[in-house]
Symmetry: C2
Subunit: 317 residues, 2 copies
DNA sequence: TACATTTACGTAAGTACTTACAAATATACG
DNA sequence: CGTATATTTGTAAGTACTTACGTAAATGTA
């Protein structure tokens, strides 16, 4: 059972489940000790109905933090046991208003007694420990309500990943990566056009030798992103061939590439960046917008079929 | 959601489950963040197989605190995903030895990375709170391993019940209770005999007026137990008509009645108590033994068919 | 060496919830 | 006032485990 020790808090979820299952099993024993005709899993619903009568299913569900479906099923059982009765709501016929039957009323005092005993036992248990589980649970729920575990983990991963992402300049040996990364997404959404193949197969000839630049992003020893700057007229560069591998998306690599490309453009004396894209590519457009690009209509006609939106970023001086 | 506040620690189990479900849901999100072809519920098994290769199913189950059936099912899934491979044990053909495939090996580093990130996030989360959940869980598991919740609750209930159990002397208005309590168990195990009916219907005539005594136990306003002392020859009294209502069993009422009867017999100058019972009634025999009764063969023939064992308790002087 | 018992495992079914979907009723909107 | 949308509930199916049970292999016993 050293699994939990080895893993430590990374197994917090599993450990919580294990203890909760243990408590559930214990609860079953406690119930058999008292002679109450109520099963442990019915308790929350029964408790709410007993303390606040005439509640509809939905409200009970909200009170105990379960779904209406679960409550509906438990109520069905309780009706079968003749512990509660269900009536249509008076004002709203959709509602199922639940209240105790005579048998339910009769069972309530014993159940209250049992609950009081369990509470006393648990409270004693909690004072036996140095770290109070009840308070810890409350604090943990509060902390998670402020920021979920998933987003906390993501923040840590992103921070770690940032240190492992490197933006490097093109070199001929990267041509296969450059082609693969671009072909991957183009073929997913559109189809490769002749203009694509020329640039992807011969980036040296069609981009570098014409005064352009290509940047690549590496992560954990693999090439996971690219983008290119291609000179146009009037101190304008086109930002093109922006691609990030699906396996590396969500790491902010597009942003890093974009920023690096803008910095490179500035250092080349560019006054303006221009790009073409497609409105189907929502995440890409949102990235461009965050980088400062805005929609324009002044661009030249595109050689690519798939382009239906043009954007620009004025760099000032 | 004031259900948990109202109930307090009595709802500890439910609250644990709720948080564990929340964590499970968060885990699913975390997994989708990393591009690992492993589902959250596979993790424990995968982890053990990755860190300690060539483990049979049973050992994996023990390490992660689940049943072998659960592990068997997860392994089946993992085999379908080509993440692990199963071989027959070399020395023991019953064993299913599990090890990682190449694909599993390939997924392992990412999973390790993810685990490290989750651990870091959770550790940060734990230091954010005043009461450390991880330590509290450990302490709670330890406390429960020393004494289960059920037995703690039972101790509290018994203590409370002891104050509510009263042993009182017979009065004519208790005749229906006296009859009901005895008839209840006799009819459950045997059948009512003529000798029973005489004593149960007319205790005044057949017991009290012959110098005998009847004790009753009341609990929460109800009569839940009886026993009788019937004079025999030679300063011997028969302990008879011992009965405790099934709904009140486990509260030590039999013990209280027995002790009261022994005290009463002493005060009457009895030198010996005698009783007849049946070997089918194991709990009753164990109670008599605890009260000091021992098996004997010296008794007179019983007027009751159901009796096949005789016991006595010498009171000394 | 034969036979009963124990051990290891897989499969089926149960459990206590969930999500997904469907039906009935209530409300909003032109 | 009719129709679209929202709300409330019940039912079915899924989930991630469990318990129960059956089979095969190993072990103990006479």
């Amino acid at each position: 059972m050293d699994f939990f020790e080895q893993l430590g808090p990374a197994a917090l979820g599993s450990r919580l489940r294990r203890l909760s299952e243990q408590m559930t099993a214990q609860a079953a024993e406690v119930y058999s000790l008292y002679h109450v005709p109520v099963e442990p899993r019915w308790f929350p619903v029964f408790y709410v109905v007993a303390t606040e009568p005439e509640r509809p299913v939905g409200e009970i569900a909200e009170a105990i933090g379960q779904t209406h479906a679960a409550v509906s099923q438990v109520v069905k059982e309780l009706v079968k046991q003749d512990l509660v009765r269900v009536q249509r709501g008076e004002a709203d016929l959709r509602r199922s208003v639940v209240s105790l039957t005579e048998k339910g009323q009769a069972a309530w005092p014993s159940l209250q007694q049992q609950t009081a005993d369990v509470r006393q036992a648990t409270e004693a248990l909690l004072t036996e420990t140095r770290h109070n589980l009840w308070l810890a649970l409350g604090e943990m729920e509060y902390a998670l309500s402020r920021q979920s575990l998933a987003s906390r983990v993501k923040a840590i991963r992103d921070q770690r990943a940032a240190g492992e992402v490197h933006i490097i300049d093109y070199a001929p040996q990267y041509q296969p990566d450059f082609k693969r990364l671009n072909a991957e997404w183009i073929e997913r959404y559109f189809r490769l056009e002749a203009a694509d193949l020329k640039a992807l197969d011969h980036p040296d000839e069609y981009i570098i030798q014409r005064g352009g630049h290509i940047l690549l992003a590496s992560y954990q020893g693999q090439m996971v992103g690219t983008c290119a700057l291609i000179p146009m007229v009037d101190a304008t560069y086109e930002l093109a061939k922006m691609a990030v591998s699906p396996a590396a998306q969500g790491l902010g690599i597009g942003w890093r590439l974009g920023e690096a490309a803008i910095a490179k453009a500035r250092s080349l004396g560019a006054q303006r960046l221009y790009l073409e894209s497609n409105t189907k590519l929502a995440p890409a457009l949102s990235l461009y917008h965050k980088l400062g690009f805005r929609k324009t209509v002044s661009g030249p006609p595109s050689p690519y079929e798939r382009c239906n939106i043009q954007m620009e970023l004025l760099l000032g001086s």
